[in-house]
Amino acid sequence: MTAQALLAVAVLPFLTMLAMVLHRRENTPSLVHAACFAVSCILGVIGAMAVLKGGADHVQLPVGLPWLKAHFRIDGFSGFFLVIINLGAAAASLFGITYVRHLKHPARVAVAYPMFLAGMNMALMSDDAFSFLVSWEFMSASSWLMVLADHEEEENRKAAFTYLIMALFGTFCLLGAFGILAQAGGGYDFTSMRAAKLDGLQSSLVVLLGLLGAGSKAGLVPLHAWLPLAHPAAPSHVSALMSGVMTKVALYALARLLFDFGPTPAWWWGAIIMVLGGVTAVVGILYALMQTDLKRLLAYSTVENVGVVLIGLGVALAFKGEGKTSYAALALAASLYHMLNHSVMKSLLFLGAGAVLASTGERNIEKLGGLIHRMPVTAAAFLVGAAAISALPPLNGFVSEWLILQSLFLGPKIPNWAMKFGSPVVAALLALSAALAAATFVRAFGMVFLGRARSVAAETAHEVSLSMRAVLVFLAGLCALLGIVPVTVTSQLSEVAQNLIKAQLSETIVQGWPWLAPISETRGSYSGTVLVASVVILILGTVAVIKGFGTRNIRRGPAWDCGHKEASPSFQYSASSFAQPLRRVYGATLFSAKEEVDMPMPNETRPALLTLRLIDPVWQGIYQPLANGVVNLANRLNRLQTMTVRRHLLMMFLTLLLMLIVAALRRVVP
């Protein structure tokens, strides 16, 4: 199975070459995306088969480092991620076929796109640190190229630069983590790393480095700073992949490090990751609430959802460390489910944003409005995605957040104070982030699709091509399906989680279709299927009664608005005014939000002015000082380059001396 998957991946570099050779032909980019769609479908099916079959399939290729060779392996866990990745990739590729025609430089995207897919798929299949890091770097570098696709814009260049630095930092950290594991396990292949015996300090270092390395890719606060710059800068279908899918590869790496390699880290790492996740969720969604760029808003919402997944992973780790393995498997299954759900809904939302962008050329939600009349299909699909990501039943986002909450509610069963006090606080943070997500997406959907058009572009928009609409409708349907019949998926997921945790879930998630009762029958259960059927019956009954009861007359007239005629669309609530109450309540401390109103006196003719200032605490507090420090250091080190030959020789001599001393010391002190 692994061999077939590798064969399918091997097609992708040829597509890149094809795109390079035929870059002048106009329909090459569409062709490349169509081929990528086919490859993704094949890889997704292979992943699904691996999940259903269980077990692992190992392949060794005679390439790579001579003493290591290249190892590849697909087990249930990587199979599940192959499904996530290729589901998103297939949707994005199909969408891309016609979407690339709206881009300024489609050929640039077509060259890097297949390599991006290859990198992500190979990272999931790798079974040694070397091939993993090489694939990981392919993934980073090719997505970096696509962020730069529109490099004429100053903003995109800045985003790509920040991304490059953070990607290097992340890989460096992962390299360290693998180094420690390889030293303890005796080899760079993952099989020896699994059996590695680490002491407490080494284990902690691996978790810390893994958290920094994978966390910087996934968007863990405060390492998220690059993400809302880089994700929106790429073309929309690539943004969908970066946000919906690439973050999952990072979470896959983190989950492997935490649950699969070496001994289980101490429980308090679970508590730390849980709290970090809670903070990431709330901070991410608060940022999203303040954005006026639709794609940047979606990128910040990715930060939130990565936080939600991390809460689940943290709880699972804490349970595993305490030996409560069946609870650990539940929490892990919950976060896996949230990863799947998030990749579906985020792909849907980013592709929806892409449709809006293709049709209006506008990303600023302050300049959109009323698109529901002109793009009804896109609007309906986007609405489903917005409701799903706001964790509203009966859609998929609700089910996974419900499962994560249920496992958080078990947190106090761990007999130590950090988890006892931590889990209620994190549960409150999770609830807060869900409520704020609803506010964010009411605002986003309301400003883009509802109300009156705020610009000419929004007024003259038209629906996008059939294949683009089909992708949106398919993903929206998947959001509903994963929410209404979750049990079918969660029972598979619990098996994946069980294999990773190496534990048996007690009677857990499956209590017979369609009841989802994660812990026990009496602990709290949910059935999307039954609820949806009942709600539909209630609504249909209501419609029937009302139809029989009153008149069916409908008159159209001007809006009532308390008799307060609003001539211009600019009278409407804008995105900034919508966020104002929330900004005042939550932003005053976090963003030091300040509003100043300059109101002219009655006899003055100048316009009134409202100034709003927001300070990004992460940039101002962490990155700016760091960047200044690096520049300062570089300036000082500059002197080394302009020394005389004599001094250079002196430096070399001193270095040699230092190394001799180190060598001598190592001899003396073993």
Partner: protein
Amino acid sequence: MTVFSILWQVLQTMICLLAAPLVTGFVRSIKARLVGRQGPSPLQPYRDLIRLLHKDLVLAENASWLFRIAPYVIFGFTWMAAALVPSFTTNLVLIPAADLITLVAFLGVARFMISLAGLDIGTSFGGLGASREMLIASLAEPAMLMSVFTLALLTGTTAPARIIDYVLAGGVGLQVSMGLTLVSLLLVAIAENGRIPIDNPATHLELTMVHEAMVLEYTGRHLALIEAAAMVRLMLYISLISCIFIPWGISQSGKGFEGILIGLVSYGAKVGTLAAFLAVFETVIAKMRVFRYADFLGGALLLSLLATLVLYVSEAV
């Protein structure tokens, strides 16, 4: 699953719809009496709803399909949520389909739709209402969930029917945390129902209004559905608080018809008492400024967090 559990479920679903206008009318008439007016009959809400149902629809020129389906979704989801709260018996067929978290989320769907409907026409009143509604929700939902957390810690479940079983079996006793959770839930209920001091259900055209601002453009049967949904929501919160904190009288599964009868009578008494309390509370308190909401609901959140901590300190769990 028995025939009876289906029968009681249907009965409960109908009661929470048909009695809801009476509860709202009852609160209104007591409030009128308390301020020295005679007030309309408690049956007035029924007449209002019927009148609205008979009226023609007037839609704003740029109303979209979302504006037209929203009332049905809001009403359907609120009604469904109300049908899931055990009121006179726990022997209901839909009980395992939803727990307290799901109930909160169902009300969240209604709120999501009503806020979007408020934004659909593109008037400043609608946006104002939607924006404030989302602020209130973001403060109230964590407080509500923390209360659920405390209850789950104490009783080991998030399902309302199981909580009732636990409390009736004497598993809780007199707990400080139960008291704190009750206060927190009461504050949340007041906010979520748009009652004084958060919102005034009787005003129009006031800068402090929230709920009324969002539904300003609705007429006829759409307005009737939205008004009915608001009444059902009030009924839901009253039922929820009474079933968790004063569950005595609720018929548990296995009890016969007398049990159901006792359940119905005690339910009526509980709802009447709580409604009267609400009327008195609303009469003696003044409306609050918008930016004081954070203090009010932040207080609710802190109370419920405190309830959890008290549980640990008193070593109840």
